[in-house]
């Protein structure tokens, strides 16, 4: 069964009901189990699990230590371009946001890399909007060629591509590809993405399959927290993860938790996801899946990031700039969203160390690909 078929076999409202109908007994059963199912996950993200958050956090802490040890990986995002032909009503790069656009030249990429390297980063995440005329696979390949000798691990978060294009990126040394569905609610998805290639829900839904088929080492999934009911959306995301893990069994997976942040010209979140709810979600993922990597970005507040380190996450960004050229070349260009935690990489590294965790700057080597 393809994921589209699996997705179509589920009904949003029914899924929602089963989550909200979960009882404390279901939660206790899920907590007591040592091999948890998607039904257990539903219980753990349900309102019935809220009183059990401390227990969930304790378990999440133990399971994460067992698998990943007391370590946190560090990465930096590098925005290559804010050109975008999509209208996404929540995004600073949205096509209808009439501001100056920028795509980094080769020389500018080198300058940005120099600045990022100064902070100790060895893992990098390349980000762009979707503008297929300017920012296409050849552009990515060129950028990767420029930066490859500088980074042990390269991830990209760009528009959905074809399998053959992902294969090219894999061969060029891309380790990981991130593509978030934003929301798994098909009708709501259409209202947030009215124009551009991204408005095709199904094409995006099947993107992780194409990444898996191309042999990319790691696939990053996520929903944009703030668009729809996070509980239902997260269940679909977990269903997607479960499907992919069984099919592309040689691939690693990561989940990110982007929570809507203010950006120029965008809407207010439809749903407010509180810190408590985000923690519940992070712990629920860890209890469902001991191996999945969980990532927290600088969208989150200092307070949340100070305290989340031992609770299930495995990687963090720091000192991030969300605009092309933001590190050195053009610090005032249009950013995708305002970050919340503005502390430098050095400060975050010290925070991690002081929490009794080791900062991992390098966990891959190009010789392995």
């Amino acid at each position: 069964m393809s994921f589209k078929e699996l997705y179509n076999s589920q009904n949003w409202e029914e899924v929602k009901k089963t989550i909200y109908d979960k009882t404390s007994q279901d939660v206790e059963k899920a907590l007591a189990s040592d091999r948890r199912t998607l039904e257990d996950f539903k219980a753990l993200i349900s309102p019935a699990a809220v009183p059990y958050l401390e227990q969930m956090a304790q378990l999440s802490n133990q399971l994460t230590k067992k698998r990943f040890g007391k370590t946190i990986q560090m990465y930096a995002p590098m925005y290559l371009s804010n050109e975008c032909n999509n209208i996404c009503t929540y995004c600073g790069f949205s096509f209808d946001n009439k501001v100056k656009r920028k795509t980094l030249s080769e020389k500018e990429i080198v300058q940005e890399v120099e600045e990022i390297k100064k902070h100790g980063f060895n893992h990098i995440l390349l980000v762009t909007g979707e503008a297929n005329q300017i920012v296409h696979v050849d552009f990515f390949l060129k950028a990767i060629k420029i930066i490859k000798s500088q980074f042990a691990n390269i991830s990209i978060e760009v528009q959905p591509l074809e399998t053959g294009e992902y294969k090219q990126l894999h061969e060029a040394g891309v380790y990981s590809v991130l593509v978030y569905q934003e929301t798994y609610h098909k009708d709501v998805y259409k209202t947030y993405h009215p124009k551009g290639k991204k408005s095709n829900f199904d094409y995006r839904l099947e993107t992780p399959d194409r990444i898996g088929e191309a042999g990319i080492h790691k696939i990053g999934l996520g929903i944009l927290l703030g668009l729809e009911d996070w509980r239902v959306d997260s269940f679909y995301c977990a269903l997607h993860l479960d499907y992919l893990q069984k099919r592309y069994w040689q691939t690693k997976y990561s989940i990110s938790f982007p929570r809507m942040r203010p950006a120029e010209g965008i809407i207010e979140p439809n749903v407010i996801v509180t810190d408590k709810e985000l923690l519940q979600l992070i712990c629920a993922y860890r209890l469902l899946n001991e191996e999945v990597e969980l990532s927290i970005s600088t969208r989150e507040s200092e307070k949340f990031r100070n305290n989340i380190i031992p609770l299930g996450v495995t990687s963090m960004s720091a000192g991030s700039k969300t605009n092309p050229g933001g590190y050195a070349v053009d610090t005032g260009s249009l950013e995708q969203f305002e970050i919340s935690d503005e502390r430098s990489a050095g400060e975050i590294a010290a925070l991690i160390t002081n929490s009794g965790y080791e900062v991992v700057w390098k966990d891959w080597d190009n010789v392995l690909s």
Partner: protein, 255 residues
């Protein structure tokens, strides 16, 4: 106690340590020292070869500590052989813990690729210690292609579940011509002692020490357990009897 010999190299300690998962490099160093271990694994993917001040390596610079680089991250024989060559060049050792686990979920070793890579690496002059399932036939096949030791798992890596594969480990130990090092799943000093009592030549421990409340003391506990287990094995354990001996034996008529 008898000394352990792998590929003509003598070891006083039969406890090998993994160096990942510790909260800091300093804590790792202290635990390694407390364990008395002389052979520690280092994940190649974690080592920063660009700088000569790699945190992990600088904390392992002690005369009695030998590095055993591992190929964690390799999904097939080809990737593992590449990684091995980099390791030999950069770390100046031809010792290698061969890890090929294409399954990033449970890190289950790939028998087919591991056999292939062992053969190739042995020909290239590596001292290969492959991480494998507790598969007695695979162990013999690895011997045939020149492995220096075998490292069967006790239970899934990082699981702390102990010696779930005990029946197969016993067969492997009984049949092996090369040292048998129980690699994964050892969760408590009692598991390590049990492995040594069975006649394993050594054990490799990481998670159980690295994420213990006090990793340094836990390393000491494992040191003692490994020594106790080995001493018990060499002293010949008594046979476990399931029933009392009959007072009127069936063979009494022969007297």
């Amino acid at each position: 106690m008898k000394k352990l010999i792998i590929a003509n190299k003598e070891f006083q300690s039969r406890l090998f340590l993994g160096t990942g998962k510790f909260g800091s490099a300093k804590l790792m160093e202290e635990a390694v020292l407390a364990s008395g271990s002389e052979l520690v694994t280092v994940a190649l993917k974690r080592v920063d070869f660009e700088t000569d001040t790699d945190l992990l390596l600088t904390h392992l610079q002690h005369a009695h500590i030998n590095l055993l680089p591992n190929t964690s991250g390799a999904r097939n024989a080809k990737e593992a052989v590449f990684a091995a060559q980099l390791s030999r060049e950069a770390l100046e050792t031809n010792w290698l813990k061969l890890e090929i686990h294409p399954d990033p979920r449970y890190l289950m070793p790939d028998a087919i690729e591991t056999l292939k890579a062992t053969e190739e690496l042995a020909k290239l002059g590596f001292i290969v210690l492959p991480y494998i399932h507790a598969d007695p036939v695979l162990c013999k096949r690895l011997e045939d292609v020149g492995t220096a030791a075998v490292m069967p798992l006790g239970s899934p890596i990082g699981s702390n579940k102990g010696l779930k594969t005990i029946d197969f480990l016993e067969i492997i130990i009984e049949q092996s011509r090369v040292p048998v090092i129980i690699d994964a799943g050892i969760g408590a000093p009692s598991d390590a002692a049990k492995a040594m009592e069975l006649g394993a030549d050594a054990v490799l421990v990481n998670t159980a020490i690295a994420v213990a409340g006090n990793p340094v003391e836990m390393a000491r506990a494992f040191k003692m357990a490994v020594e106790a287990g080995r001493l018990a094995y060499e002293s010949k354990l008594g046979t476990i009897r399931n029933r009392a001996e009959a007072s009127s034996p069936l063979t009494a008529f022969l007297d």
